[in-house]
């Protein structure tokens, strides 16, 4: 089922054990990869950052290891793709539901989406994966792209 996720997740855009202070740092790092790999326009990074400050994407999972799914409008995207980072120490992202609440996030999926019907499976697969606490824990511990693709593919 999660095979669809590995179709979008570029091995070149998987960064494990990122040390960052802010959500902006993490987003910029991942956006740079998506840009270098040809998924997004140069405007993508700034558009995601602007959106994140207005409409944050932290998803509360009820514990200390939460997930964020930053993304932005389709006009900044060339083709659908997914970048993924694990964070060595939690970074605060605001809660999608309540922007005043900050969530400690360990996993970040930066999505390049440009078609709601075709690429929705990307987010659907992410939602499926993050609903398993065991998968979350294993993703945080993953040491290689192979580990990640085993968990998500």
């Amino acid at each position: 089922m999660a095979q669809a996720l590995m179709n979008y997740l570029d091995p070149g855009a998987i960064i494990l054990g990122v040390r960052a202070e802010t959500d902006r740092e993490v987003i910029s790092l991942l956006a740079e990869r998506l840009h270098a790999l040809g998924y997004v326009k140069p405007s993508f990074a700034d558009a995601v950052l602007a959106r994140e400050s207005q409409l944050p994407t932290g998803l509360p999972l009820g514990g200390v290891n939460n997930v964020a799914v930053p993304h932005t409008d389709p006009e900044h995207v060339l083709k659908p793709g997914l970048a993924f980072a694990t964070l060595i120490q939690p970074v605060a992202f605001a809660n999608m539901e309540d922007p005043d609440e900050k969530l400690p996030v360990r996993l970040v999926f930066l999505m390049a989406l440009n078609d709601k019907d075709k690429q929705v499976e990307m987010l659907q697969e992410i939602a499926g994966a993050i609903q398993s606490p065991a998968t979350i824990e294993a993703l945080i511990q993953s040491k290689s792209v192979e580990d990640v693709s085993r968990l998500l593919g």
Binding site: P60, L61, D98, I130
Partner: protein
């Protein structure tokens, strides 16, 4: 056969989380024997789309006083509290 109720699904971009939530709610309600018509938009556009819908379901904060029942929930993304939210949606649609 009564006319299906219309649910407007909203999120920041109007294409990402709202699509996932729309599919999840549509499927889950079908299993409960309820069919719905779905629409989608950005949270910033909800006020202009709300006139002929029965319920708004959003993943992000909505403007206040929409004049329609509205639920903000991440349950269909995180899995947490999904059944409770479905009960709430069902109750609103059957009212």
């Amino acid at each position: 056969m009564t006319k299906p109720k219309t649910v407007l699904f909203a999120c920041g971009t109007g294409i990402a989380t709202s699509t996932v939530v729309a599919h999840a709610v549509e499927d889950a309600l079908k299993k409960r024997g309820i069919s719905i018509a779905t629409r989608q938009c950005k949270t910033t556009e909800v006020a202009s789309h709300v006139a002929d819908v029965d319920l708004v379901v959003s993943t992000a904060q909505l403007p206040k006083d929409l004049g329609k029942p509205a639920i903000t929930t991440l349950a269909f993304l995180t899995g947490i509290g999904k059944d409770d939210v479905l009960d709430k949606i069902e109750a609103i649609l059957k009212a």
